[in-house]
């Protein structure tokens, strides 16, 4: 299923089968290079596979951008306990809607990536943790898995290679926090999703106390192309240390929102104006959330930037999960900050005080501020409260709440000033206009 027109500027590696008839079927997959990479991988040693993934400069697509090959090398070579592969399909970072398309349009590419990972770390069992709201995808993945079993691409002695692998889906039930890798592990064990202390990292002590390789759907989906065409070819698509393409989820005030596969390092302004068709109604660009709601925002004059992990870090933001939200001049940044904080306050698991209390205080302060009851002293207070959460929490949700908020108060003080002294929100009717 395609939800938006492709762009001619796309470089289609992971999405090359999107739009083909029955792209989700095993036959289509086999007719278009499917499972060739897996058959190649069984001829390689695990070390060679990991080297190839390292050479690809693939970095985790779940948000943190950790080098994937390095992560694979952390899984102990031998283990008295079985090892597991877990696929993070919780996709809940606001602004992000790409894993959904990868599972819907090309489930076998994901399965093949998982098989190769299993072969590389000597694991024989995998679980795809899919957010509960994606029920149709649980059914879709189950169908693809059943098809793979029936034709010998999963199960015992896969295609006569001697390699065994079993793969299952596991449903979440509504909790952003369960996307955090260690909370996910507790969740898959049947508990509330509360993060674990790290170290030990999941690679060493993960699901059911066993070594676990956990990565995002898009990360696994990139593996077949890397093994088939070589890590170097994938790396060459992006800047140094930032290999390949990414599924960019463009949303917000642009003419052609949609999910587009673009080389890592694609310029953000070109994303907005060339891929995304420019700003709606000829409005001016105000700000961009580069990679999901956890990332510090970029002001319009900071948007001439290469969308790679290192350039974004240099600009004191993050590439995150690929959710790029474009805001026009009529967007109230106080409202925007308020909605972001409402989300994190709702999703905080309550385990650590700075996050549990901080997100709630900030939400109340921003609510009050937006309603016109804010005071000038609230403006620095919002920044201070946020900074007090930074780095003081068990998991990165506390930081995820603080970072965009700090960037908004620091970069858009005039929007806060405009709400002072009981003045009504100057942008009040802008979203109604956007709907019309």
């Amino acid at each position: 299923m395609l939800y938006n027109e492709p762009s001619p500027l796309e470089v289609k590696i992971l999405t090359k089968r999107f739009g083909l008839a029955n792209s989700e079927s095993l036959d289509t997959y086999l007719a278009t290079d499917g499972y060739k990479a897996f058959l190649k991988a069984v001829e390689m040693t695990p070390e060679q596979i990991i080297e190839e993934v390292k050479a690809s400069a693939l970095r985790g697509r779940g948000g943190a951008g950790f080098p994937t090959g390095l992560k694979w090398s952390f899984v102990p070579r031998t283990s008295p306990k079985p090892k597991y592969v877990i696929i993070n399909a919780d996709e809940s970072e606001p602004g992000t809607c790409k894993d959904r398309l990868l599972m819907e349009n090309d489930p076998h590419q994901l399965i093949e990536g998982i098989l190769i990972a299993g072969r590389a770390v000597d694991s024989h069992k995998g679980y795809i943790y899919i957010r509960g709201e994606y029920r149709y995808l649980i059914e879709a993945m189950d169908r693809a898995i059943a098809e793979a079993y029936s034709r010998g691409y999963l199960g015992k002695n896969i295609r006569g290679t001697g390699f065994d692998f079993d793969l299952y889906t596991h449903t979440g039930a509504g909790a952003y926090e369960c996307g955090e890798e260690t909370a996910l592990l507790d969740s898959i064990e049947g508990k509330r999703g509360i993060p674990r202390m790290k170290p030990p990292f999941p690679a060493v002590v993960g699901a059911w106390q066993s070594p676990t390789l956990l990565s995002n759907v898009e990360t696994f989906s990139a593996i077949p192309a890397i093994i088939r065409d070589g890590g170097a070819a994938f790396a060459a698509l992006g800047p140094a240390k930032n290999g390949g393409t990414r599924l960019v989820c463009l949303s917000g005030h642009i003419n052609k929102p949609g999910v587009y596969e673009l080389p890592v390092g694609f310029n953000l302004l070109r994303m907005i104006y060339e891929v995304g068709g420019g700003m709606r109604n000829g409005k001016k660009l105000k700000a961009v959330v580069p990679g999901g709601s956890s990332c510090p925002l970029l002001k319009a004059d900071e948007c001439d930037i290469s969308m790679d992990f290192d350039s974004l870090a240099k600009a004191k933001s993050m590439l995150g999960s690929g959710g790029t939200v474009v805001l026009d001049e009529d967007t109230c940044m106080v409202k925007f900050a308020q909605r972001i904080m409402k989300f994190y306050a709702h999703e905080s698991c309550g385990w650590c005080i700075p996050c549990r209390e901080g997100t709630n205080w900030l939400k109340k302060t921003l609510d009050r501020f937006h309603s016109g009851a804010g005071q000038k002293s609230d403006i620095p207070l919002i920044g201070e409260l946020s900074k007090n959460m930074l780095g003081r929490t068990y998991c990165a949700l506390g930081d995820a709440a603080a970072m965009p908020t700090i960037s908004i108060v620091e970069k858009f003080p005039e929007d806060f000033e405009a709400h002072l002294n009981g003045k009504p929100c100057p942008y009040e009717h802008s979203t109604e206009l956007a709907m019309a």
């Binding site: 809607c97 709201e133 979203t431």
Partner: protein
């Protein structure tokens, strides 16, 4: 409790797929799949899932409060979920939510008197590039306007 053969088959599979002795892992999926069939999570269902997964009822009960999709009270036959998170927000999701609330005559997490509809303001549902988005039960609807919402609700009313 008795369930449909399809659900029983699902339960049987869930008890098989996790490592030996780890049937607790089946708790959340079982609760959600059972809720889909029986409507909500009753004390009886908690006991039943605990028995099947060989854990204490309290261990089942505590997850019910944690996961936002698990409900102790029945929802409407059609659960209307409006995302108001960032990508939807800036394209009018709050207005859409207000419209839904007014049309249905209920507030957040409430059910209409005839049990037909319930309403919930929800977080990002992974449809940001096609915002504003809603889910009616598990079905996604993209680029929803107040007019389109009225149409969708009318179709649901007609179907029942």
């Amino acid at each position: 409790m008795t369930f449909s053969p399809e659900l029983e088959a699902r339960f049987a599979k869930l008890l098989e797929i996790y490592p030996p002795g780890r049937t607790r892992s089946a708790v959340v999926p079982m609760l959600l799949y059972a809720q889909d069939e029986v409507g909500h999570i009753s004390a009886e269902l908690v006991e039943e899932v605990a028995r099947r997964c060989q854990v204490k009822p309290l261990q089942v009960d505590e997850v019910v409060g944690y996961y936002s999709m698990l409900h102790r009270k029945p929802l409407g036959k059609c659960h209307v979920q409006v995302c108001t998170n960032i990508s939807c927000l800036i394209l009018g999701a709050e207005e859409l939510y207000e419209h839904a609330s007014k049309t249905l005559g209920i507030g957040n997490k409430e059910v209409t008197p005839d049990g037909q509809f319930s309403l919930e303001e929800v977080e990002c549902m992974g449809a940001c590039s096609w915002a504003p988005a809603i889910q009616l039960n598990y079905d996604f609807h993209h680029h929803v306007t107040p007019e389109k919402l009225d149409q969708l609700l009318a179709e649901v009313r007609k179907a029942h």
